[in-house]
């Protein structure tokens, strides 16, 4: 309670942000704003403290208990701060079959952390998470909000080095099937010729450029 009096409300100086979030939902659905408000706070403070829970409850017209009940239901809201880089290793079946167990071991060794921990500098947090929806591009490592897919050992080491330097590299897009990256070399032993997505897409994208009907910036 003492904390509440001394901490400045998060949304006090952000009426626009607050209005935008509340404005997304109909008046009778004000409660829907709970999740985006929690996200907003967490994105900037890397966790949601009790004081913020109380603040959000007041904004939405709920009890703090209800907001806590909602927040704690979800696995990606944090009640404690996480490191600057929150490394989340997907460990569900497809990733496991692609080596995520080993990838996690490697991270534990490299960082000297076990899943659930944050290093003393507050740089890295390591966590095992459940299926991230990257099964065909497994194994996947999520760093904060960014997915790094089909990560190899070398790539992981390079990624860690970059993060230590404070850089977030642009993730590669190594995919196959109909969502193969534009321009990817056809795979050896292509089972069929006609109508691969990549070809069609290439043709269409080229065709699209010059005749942009709305004339807007492409």
């Amino acid at each position: 309670m003492i904390e509440l009096n001394t901490i400045r409300p998060y949304f006090e100086d952000k009426p626009d942000v607050l209005d935008e979030i509340l404005g997304r939902y109909p008046e009778y659905g004000r409660r829907s704003a709970v999740m985006p408000l929690l996200w907003e706070v967490q994105r900037h403070e890397r966790y949601v403290s009790e004081a913020r829970i109380v603040e959000i409850a007041e904004i939405v017209g709920l009890t703090a208990t209800e907001v806590r009940g909602v927040m704690s239901f979800y696995s990606t809201y944090h009640g404690e701060p996480v490191g600057k880089y929150h490394l989340q290793v997907c460990s569900t079946l497809s990733c496991k079959l692609a080596g995520s167990d080993e990838m996690c071991d490697h991270l534990e060794d490299s960082l000297g952390l076990v899943p659930g921990e944050t290093d003393t500098e507050g740089l890295f947090s390591l966590q095992k998470v459940e299926c991230l929806g990257s099964c065909t591009t497994a194994p996947v490592l999520q760093v904060n909000d960014t997915y790094y897919e089909r990560v190899t050992r070398d790539e992981l080491d390079a990624l860690l080095d970059a993060l230590r330097r404070g850089e977030m590299p642009t993730p590669k897009r190594a995919r196959e099937g109909d969502n193969a990256q534009l321009g990817a070399a056809p795979l050896a032993g292509e089972a069929f010729e006609a109508g691969t997505a990549a070809d069609a897409a290439l043709a269409d994208a080229e065709a699209a450029e010059p005749e942009n009907p709305e004339g807007g910036a492409a």
Partner: protein, 821 residues
Amino acid sequence: MKIKVNEVELDVTPGTSVIDAVFAAGHDVPYFCSQEYMSPIGACRMCLAKIGAPRKDRATNDWILDEETGEPKIFWFPNPMATCTTQVMEGMVVDTISKDVKKAQNAMVEFTLVNHPLDCPTCDKGGACELQDRAYEYGSGESRFVFDKRHQEKHHALSELITLDRERCIHCKRCVRYFEEVPGDEVLDFIERGGHTYIGTLEDGLPSPFTGNITDICPVGALLDTTSRFRGRNWEYHHTDTTSLDDPSGAALRIDTRTGRIERIKAGLNDDVNKTWIDDGTRFGHEYADAEDRITRPMVRRDGTLVETTWADAAREIAERIAGMDGTRIGIALRGDATLEEGVAAKALADHLGSGRLDTAPRPAASVLPDGAAATLRDVATSDALFVVGDPTEEAGIVDLRIKDALKGVEPAPLFPHGPAIADLRLKERMPRKREILTICAPYRTDLMKHAGQAHVPPATSMVDLLHALAERASATVDGGTPSGAWDDALGMTAAEADALITRMRSSTRGVMIWSAFVSNDPRADEAARTFAKSVGAKTLILGPMANTAGLERISVLPSHDRYDYASMFTPETKALFLASLDPAVDPKVADRLRELDLLVVHAAFPTATSALADVVLPAVTGYEKDGTTLNVEGRLLPVRAAPVEAGTATDFTGVVKQLGEAFGTRLEGRSVKSARRVLRKLLDVDAAELPTTGQPLPPVRGKASGARAVREYARATGDALIVPSMVRVEHLDRNPHLRAERGDAALRAHPATLHAHGLTSGDVVTLPIGGIPRQLRVTASEGVPEGLWLAPTLPEQPVGLYDANLAAMVRERSATAEVA
């Protein structure tokens, strides 16, 4: 519709849940998450059964027949179904006993016990635990779960009054749903998810006036009434089913006693009145009855000090001292929670003495009986237009809950032979509430206002004007006329709001107007309220200040003349006084007057300021120890039954009259409960001895109510302190340690700005003379109090209303900061 439960054929109303059909068929099915009067949610999966039903051919609309039997073919659901969330269908067949079903039931018991500590020997719920019973009846008796159970907090104080054992919780969600569905205070919720789920709160304690009910409905020993923890085993308790004398709602109670002590109070079932809920004041307010300083024997003053004696001696002493006294100089006053039988006794005593100075206190200036029949609590619960003037939450908590029923808009279901519906499928979690049907006016922001469509907080001084203005407007528009507009300034709301209220009440067929002592204490306000109700065609419910104020008025425990009312008893005309459970000496000026009496007889359960001045003190029983009858707010006669509490030779007022009669050498009516009931039968045409626990409506009086005092020219009420009703009876607070720990000292509430102006902080304890009575109160900041006004809870000697606070004489007894340090 016709259905079949394990070969029993029966007829049920469409919409019935299968679980109720099973019970109606005389069979049993175990359940944990379902709970009477709450939404069925199908969470515990304990009530699984095999269910099938015939089907109609889409093309022909005929039943599809079984080739072999020629009967409609039964199509079984592929999985066992939760009977609590399934509705009956024509021709449905339910199987709760076959091998498959048993296996499923067995499995559910096994799953339920996975994380349950099985610490029954040390659990207060042991012997009255639904899980224990069901595990015994439906479990396999052995555990295949060999792992460590989930370890969680075992003695978590959710509040001072409720202790949570998180290990025992089986996640039935009754408690969480209760808070949302019944009082509408969402102060408890599940935290985390899956196997980690537990219940908890982020509020400070459990800020709701209705928390204790969760200890009744928790199917296991997870939620316990802290006041009764470790006090006894369930099979050692003696149960007394009775009626609460705490407030006029007449809630059913079950008092559990052991070796002459009240160990706890639980809610009783009265479908028409309180369903199975009671407020926290009623539940936790009983510890005083077991206080150490109970008066257990009569005392008479000898040489200035009170000494114990026998009843016969004390009575003789009284008889001697009033012999030859002018009867009209003797006064008799009962507290408003006396039973009708005590009222009869007091009347007999007054008649015998020839005194017209008989009254009950506190008693409002206006009658608390309605013109004609009162609205019943069921009327309130089914109303579609409610207008409340006052603070029902604090005055009669059950009325608050029934108003909240109305907001859900679900008609109460009829009772089954097995009781209320176990799963009323019309009730849902988070039902939309029809707030727009509720309008509230009160001189401060009340708890109930957050549920209201319209809430108005007029200045305390202008409540009467507001009602008058509304009544004018309503009367003027009865036949489509136009209001004069002369009173518009006094409305406290816009004319459009007033018209909307009037139209809503008038166009409704089930409109109810509820008012409280704020109104009754001013006869003009009362008259306006009655006029308003009549002109919009609303039934009325008048909240009396005490449990039986209305009943005592109904049997005319009243002064023969206004001049002889309670207040007049403290004038020099009076020579002798009989005061039952009243403590007027808290007012020093009255105390001075009492010293001058020739005889002061005090009937009390505890030493008080008044008993200290008495010539004779007679030991009284508390409301938990009386046999008798009370009349609740809706005009229902209800039985009050005595719990076996060890209180020496204490009696109720009929006992006093018995002893006095013997000393006078005459047999007075009302000298026992039985004799009083003979009188009641003549007065009310009811045999009070035969009342069922759920009571019986009393036909209304014809014509004008009797208790109203003559409307004199009342001065407009003024003052800066408002005495407000309180669910927690502050006169007992000192002897209720747990309740006091939860609620703190009685509160003096004021707006933060008001406190600031007087250099006070929340938590300071002050003594402030209000209306001449020094009140020791804990200062509490509240935005809901208008600036400049001070709110203090009522005492029997200080009824609801406006008083002058002597702020200059305020003394700070303790400061909040000192306590923190």
